[in-house]
C-alpha cells in the first residue's frame, strides 16, 4: 500500500472521527474536539497531496471495487491523485487545516452546532477527494459531497439573518447547475470513450464536435464553481453570509476546484483542443478579472469586496491557463510552460492570502459585528495581530513585493510579454489586450486593498462598535499568523515553489537560482526577493543613521489633534469613508458600473434656504446579476404561480386529474 493510498485512507478515517466527534462531543468542548479532528483531516490531506505532487508512484491509490446494477461501463472507483491533483489536494488540505484551527475559536452558535461541525467535516472531505478522484464517478460523488457540505454550512445563520436564506438559494441553484453541466459533459466523454476512468478517457483522445461539446459543458460547470463572469453571481451573495472560516475555505480552496477542473479538462482529458477553446477561456477570464476587481474596488461590504476579488483572481489564474493553451497551440512551448507555472503560482498565492483576508474579516466581524467598511476604522490600535496579518495579506492581494502575489504576477507578466505575436494575428491582438487588462486589474487591486486596509484599520473609528474592537481568541490569531507566514514565505522563496509546481504540470524551464530566487531561462528573466531585500537594506542603512542622529537632536512631540485647518473639534465623520474613497473611480467607470445615487436635502423649518441635513445614498449593483438573471428568476416564479393554480388542494380536482389521466391512457392503448 503506497504512501498516497495510505494518506487517502487516513483522510477517510479522520473524516469519520470528525463526524463522530461533532455529533457525540458535549457542547462546551465540541468545537475543540471536532476542530482538532478537522485540522488533522486537513493536515493529512496536505501531506498526501505533497507526496502525490512529488510523484510518489503514479497511479497508486485507493481502489474501491463497486458494481452498480446498471448497464453503464463502470470501471472501479479510483482515488489516485496524479501530480496536478496532488497540488490541489495539498492546497485544499492546508487551507482546511488553517480554517479548522481558526474555527475552534471562532465558531459560535449554529456554526458550532453538531450539524455545523459535521457539515464542515463533510465539506473538507469532499474538497480533498475531488482532486484525488481519478475517475468520473468518484469525481462527481466527491464534487457533490463538497457541494452539500458547503450548502449546509452556508445555511448556518439562517435563523439570525434573512439574507442567508436567499444567498443559500442562489448558491444551491448555481452549484447544482454546475453539477448538471459537469454530469452532461462527462456523460459525453464516457459515451465517446466507453470508460469512466480519466486514464481511459485521456488515452482515447476524444476529438471533433463531441470533444468541443464536452469541453464547453465542462467549462460551464467548472466556471460556475470557479465564479467566472457571468456565472459568478453566487460568490458575492454566499461569501458574505457564510461564517467567516467557511467563506475562507470556500473562497481559497473550493473555488480552486473549479480551476482544477478546467486544468483537468484542458490538459489531461482533452489536451489537443482547437485554439478557439483557449480564446473562449481567455475572454471569459479577462472579463472576470476586470469586472471582479471593478466591483471589488467600489464595494463597501468587506466580505463582498473579498468575494469579488476572488472572481478577479480566478480570472487572472485562468488568463494564465488560456494564454498557456494559446501559446502551446502556436508552438511556443517554453513560454507556455512559464504561463502554466504562473497559473499554479497564482492559485497557491491566492489561496494563502485570501484565507488570511477572510479570517481577518471574520475577526473584525467577531469583534465589532460590522462588515461595512464605512462604519469601521482605527482597528490597528485595538487589533494589532489582525491588523498585521490582514496588512500582509492585503500586500499579497495587491501583488506588491515581497509577497506571494508579487512573485506570481511577475511570472504571469513575464509569460505574457514574451509570447511572440509577429507571425500569429490572434496572439498579436490578444496579447497586448491581455497585458493591458491585467495591468489595469493590478492597478485597481492596489486601490481596492489600500482602501480595505486603510479604511478598516487606520484613521479613527467611524462607529462605537469599531472603537471597542478587541482581538480574537488564541486559535484565531494563530491561524491568521500561520496564513500570513505562508504569504510571506511563498513570496520570499518563489524558486523552490515554482519549480515544484512546474514539475507537477510537467512544465520545464523553471529553475531555482541564488538562495530562493526563480529564474526563467525561456524568457531570460530572474527574480530573487531575498537579494532585493538585501539591496533595500543596504540603501536604507545610511538613511537610518541620519534619521537616528536627527532623532537624538529633535525628539518627537505629541499633539492632541491632527491638523484640520485649526478646526476646534475633529469628528470621525469628517474622514473619508470607503464610499468616498472609491468615488473618483465610480465617476471614471460610470458607464460600466451605472451606480444609482439619490440625494435628499431636508430644509430647516425657519427657511427653505437653510439646509438642516443632506442625505446622500449611492448603490452599485451587480449589473450582470440584474440584467441576466432577474428575468430568469421572474420567469421561474411565474411558472411556480401557474403550478399553484393547478394544485389548489381540493381532493376532487386531484381525483379528476388521475381520472383524466386514466382515460387518456386507455384511449392511447386502445388507439
Amino acid at each position: 500500500m503506497s504512501g498516497v493510498s495510505a494518506g487517502i485512507a487516513t483522510q477517510l478515517v479522520l473524516a469519520a472521527v470528525a463526524l463522530v466527534a461533532a455529533t457525540l462531543a458535549p457542547a462546551r468542548m465540541r468545537s475543540h474536539v471536532a476542530g482538532a479532528a478537522c485540522a488533522g483531516l486537513g493536515v493529512a490531506g496536505a501531506v498526501t497531496g505533497l507526496v502525490a505532487m512529488s510523484g510518489g508512484n503514479p497511479g497508486a491509490g485507493l481502489q474501491i471495487p463497486v458494481t452498480l446494477p446498471l448497464g453503464l461501463p463502470l470501471e472501479p472507483l479510483l482515488l489516485a491523485p496524479d501530480r496536478l491533483g496532488g497540488v490541489f489536494l495539498a492546497l485544499a488540505g492546508a487551507v482546511a487545516a488553517v480554517t479548522a484551527v481558526y474555527g475552534i475559536g471562532y465558531a459560535t452558535g449554529p456554526a458550532a452546532s453538531r450539524s455545523g461541525w459535521a457539515a464542515f467535516a463533510v465539506f473538507i472531505l469532499g474538497m480533498q477527494l475531488v482532486p484525488a478522484a481519478s475517475d468520473v464517478v468518484s469525481f462527481l460523488v466527491a464534487w457533490e459531497t463538497m457541494a452539500i457540505g458547503s450548502t449546509v454550512l452556508l445555511l448556518a445563520d439562517h435563523g439570525a439573518r434573512s439574507e442567508v436564506v436567499r444567498a443559500t438559494q442562489w448558491y444551491a441553484v448555481m452549484t447544482h447547475a454546475s453539477f448538471l453541466l459537469l454530469l452532461a459533459g462527462f456523460a459525453v466523454l464516457v459515451a465517446e470513450t466507453g470508460g469512466t476512468s480519466f486514464a481511459t478517457i485521456a488515452a482515447a483522445g476524444v476529438s471533433g464536435t463531441s470533444a468541443s461539446v464536452a469541453f464547453v459543458l465542462l467549462l460551464g460547470g467548472f466556471a460556475t464553481k470557479a465564479g467566472l463572469v457571468p456565472v459568478h453571481v453566487w460568490l458575492p451573495r454566499a461569501h458574505p453570509e457564510a461564517p467567516s472560516h467557511v467563506s475562507a475555505a470556500m473562497s481559497a480552496a473550493m473555488v480552486k476546484m473549479g480551476v482544477y477542473g478546467v486544468l483537468l479538462a484542458a490538459l489531461r482529458l482533452l489536451p489537443q483542443g482547437p485554439a478557439w477553446w483557449a480564446g473562449l477561456l481567455l475572454v471569459l477570464a479577462l472579463a472576470s478579472a476586470l469586472y471582479g476587481i471593478l466591483q471589488a474596488s467600489v464595494a463597501t461590504d468587506l466580505k463582498r469586496l473579498l468575494a469579488y476579488s476572488t472572481t478577479e483572481n480566478v480570472g487572472l489564474i485562468l488568463v494564465a491557463v488560456a494564454v498557456a493553451l494559446l501559446l502551446r497551440g502556436a508552438g511556443d512551448e517554453p513560454v507556455a510552460d512559464v504561463a502554466l507555472t504562473a497559473a499554479l503560482l497564482l492559485t497557491v498565492s491566492h489561496a494563502a492570502f485570501k484565507t488570511v483576508l477572510f479570517l481577518g474579516a471574520g475577526a473584525i466581524l467577531h469583534a465589532t459585528g460590522e462588515r461595512d467598511l464605512d462604519r469601521l476604522g482605527g482597528l490597528a490600535a485595538v487589533m494589532p495581530t489582525t491588523s498585521l496579518t490582514f496588512g500582509v495579506a492585503a500586500l499579497g492581494a495587491a501583488a506588491l513585493p515581497v509577497t506571494s502575489g508579487f512573485a506570481a504576477e511577475w511570472v504571469l507578466l513575464q509569460s505574457l510579454i514574451h509570447g511572440d505575436g509577429r507571425d500569429d494575428v490572434a496572439l498579436a491582438i490578444l496579447l497586448p489586450i491581455t497585458v493591458a487588462i491585467v495591468a489595469l486589474t493590478a492597478g485597481l487591486a492596489l486601490l481596492t486593498f489600500v482602501k480595505a486596509y486603510g479604511i478598516a484599520f487606520l484613521a479613527r473609528p467611524r462607529s462605537p462598535a469599531a472603537e471597542h474592537g478587541h482581538e480574537g481568541g488564541r486559535s484565531m490569531r494563530a491561524a491568521m499568523l500561520l496564513g500570513a507566514a505562508a504569504v510571506v514565505g511563498l513570496g520570499l522563496a518563489p524558486g523552490p515553489v515554482a519549480a515544484g509546481l512546474a514539475e507537477a504540470v510537467g512544465a520545464s524551464g523553471i529553475e531555482v537560482v541564488g538562495v530562493l530566487g526563480v529564474s526563467l531561462p525561456a524568457v531570460d528573466a530572474l527574480l530573487d526577493p531575498v537579494a532585493l531585500i538585501l539591496l533595500a537594506a543596504i540603501v536604507l542603512a545610511p538613511v537610518v543613521v541620519v534619521h537616528l542622529a536627527a532623532a537624538r537632536r529633535a525628539p518627537r512631540r505629541d499633539v492632541d489633534l491632527a491638523w484640520g485647518c485649526g478646526g476646534v473639534r475633529v469628528s470621525p465623520r469628517m474622514q473619508y469613508t470607503a464610499t468616498s474613497y472609491a468615488e473618483p473611480l465610480v465617476r471614471v467607470f460610470d458607464d460600466a458600473l451605472q451606480p444609482s445615487r439619490d440625494v435628499e436635502v431636508s430644509h430647516a423649518d425657519e427657511s427653505r434656504y437653510l439646509v438642516s441635513q443632506v442625505r446622500f445614498r449611492q448603490r452599485v449593483t451587480d449589473l450582470v446579476a440584474d440584467r441576466a438573471y432577474e428575468p430568469i428568476v421572474r420567469a421561474t416564479l411565474g411558472i411556480g404561480e401557474g403550478a399553484r393554480r393547478i394544485q389548489n388542494g381540493s381532493i376532487h380536482r386531484y381525483l379528476g386529474f388521475s381520472f383524466t389521466a386514466l382515460v387518456l391512457v386507455l384511449l392511447a392503448v386502445t388507439w
Partner: protein, 319 residues
C-alpha cells in the same frame, strides 16, 4: 584599477541621485521663477529646506499610528532602490537583482501605497481625499506604463531596462522608429502623472481641494517631511532619468571602465537638468487638468502605447 564593479556603479548612481536631486528640483523651481519674472530662491534652496527640516522636531497627533513615521522611510527606500536599479549612468546590473521593469514598477508602487496609507491614517478629510485621488491615478497609469515598456521590450526580447537602453545605444535607428517614439511619449505622460507634475497634479498649490500629493503629507513634519520630500524628488529623478535615457540613449555607459562611467555621469547630469528645465518651462504654459479629465489624458497615452505594441507586431516596425 580603472574599471568599476557593478555594485560600485550602483553606488555611484544612488549617491549621485541623492546629490543631484535637490539641485534638479532647484533648477526646475528657478526656471519657473525666472519665467514668472521673479528672482527665485536659487538652485540650492531645496538643499537648505531639507537640512532645516532634518533639524526640526516631528509632531505626532493623537490617534495617528505607525505609518506617520514608517511611510517616510518606506518611500525613500523604494525611491533609492529604484535609483539603484534604473540605468541612469550605466547599463550594467546585478546578476541577482536585474533591473527588471516589473520589479522596478512594483517597488515604486510600494512607495505609492505607503503614501496613500499615510494620507488615510491622519484621519482628516484632506488626507483621505489626496490618498483616494492618488490611488485612482496610480491605478489608471498602470496599463500605460506596462504596455509602453511591453512595446519597448518586444525588439529586445527582455523586460530588463538596462538591456533595452543598451539596445537603443547600439541601434540609434530604433530611437526614431515610430514604435520607439510612441512608447516613449506614452511613458512620458505616465511619468508626469506618476510623479505628480502638471497637468495631473500641481506640486506648488496651497489650496487643499486641488491637492493630490500635497494633501497626503499635510500631517507630516520635521524629518518625516524631509524624507517624504526627498523620496518623491528621487522618484522624479529616477523616472525622468529613465525617460531621457530611453529618448536620448547616447552617453550611457555600456562598459564599466572608469572613463565610460564618468562620461555617463556627465551625460545624465546634463540630460536631467535640461529635461528638468523643459518640464518646468512647459508647466508655465499648462493649467492643471480637472481630476475627471485626467482619465482622458491617460487614455490618450494608453492608446499611444497600445498602438506601439500592435505596430511592432503587425507592421514589424521594430527590427
Amino acid at each position: 584599477m580603472n574599471t568599476l564593479t557593478v555594485p560600485g556603479l550602483l553606488a555611484v548612481q544612488v549617491v549621485g541621485a541623492l546629490a543631484l536631486t535637490p539641485i534638479l528640483i532647484g533648477v526646475m523651481r528657478q526656471t519657473r521663477a525666472r519665467l514668472e519674472g521673479r528672482a527665485g530662491g536659487g538652485v540650492t534652496q531645496p538643499w537648505r529646506d531639507v537640512r532645516k527640516l532634518l533639524a526640526k522636531e516631528p509632531l505626532q497627533a493623537a490617534g495617528t499610528g505607525p505609518m506617520l513615521s514608517a511611510t517616510p522611510l518606506l518611500l525613500i527606500t523604494s525611491s533609492l532602490v529604484v535609483c539603484a536599479l534604473v540605468p541612469l549612468v550605466g547599463t550594467a546590473s546585478l546578476a541577482t537583482v536585474p533591473d527588471d521593469l516589473f520589479v522596478v514598477v512594483s517597488v515604486l508602487l510600494l512607495g505609492t501605497v505607503a503614501l496613500a496609507l499615510l494620507g488615510l491614517e491622519s484621519g482628516t478629510a484632506f488626507g483621505g481625499m489626496g490618498s483616494s485621488r492618488h490611488m485612482t491615478i496610480a491605478a489608471l497609469v498602470e496599463p500605460t506604463v506596462l504596455v509602453a515598456v511591453y512595446a519597448l521590450s518586444i525588439p529586445v526580447g527582455t523586460s530588463a531596462l538596462s538591456a533595452i537602453v543598451a539596445a537603443r545605444v547600439q541601434d540609434p535607428a530604433s530611437v526614431v522608429s515610430p514604435v520607439g517614439l510612441l512608447a516613449v511619449v506614452a511613458l512620458g505622460i505616465a511619468v508626469l502623472a506618476e510623479t505628480g507634475r502638471l497637468p495631473v497634479d500641481n506640486p506648488s498649490t496651497h489650496l487643499e481641494l486641488t491637492m493630490v500629493h500635497e494633501a497626503m503629507v499635510l500631517e507630516s513634519s520635521g524629518r518625516d517631511l524631509a524624507w517624504l520630500e526627498v523620496g518623491s524628488w528621487l522618484r522624479l529623478t529616477a523616472l525622468l532619468g529613465l525617460l531621457v535615457n530611453l529618448a536620448i540613449p547616447w552617453g550611457v555607459a555600456t562598459t564599466l571602465s572608469l572613463s565610460a562611467v564618468l562620461l555617463g555621469v556627465a551625460a545624465i547630469v546634463v540630460k536631467l537638468l535640461v529635461a528638468g528645465m523643459l518640464v518646468a518651462a512647459g508647466e508655465v504654459f499648462l493649467a492643471k487638468l480637472r481630476l475627471f479629465r485626467v482619465p482622458e489624458l491617460l487614455a490618450g497615452s494608453f492608446v499611444l502605447a497600445f498602438l506601439a505594441v500592435t505596430a511592432s507586431f503587425l507592421i514589424g516596425g521594430a527590427p
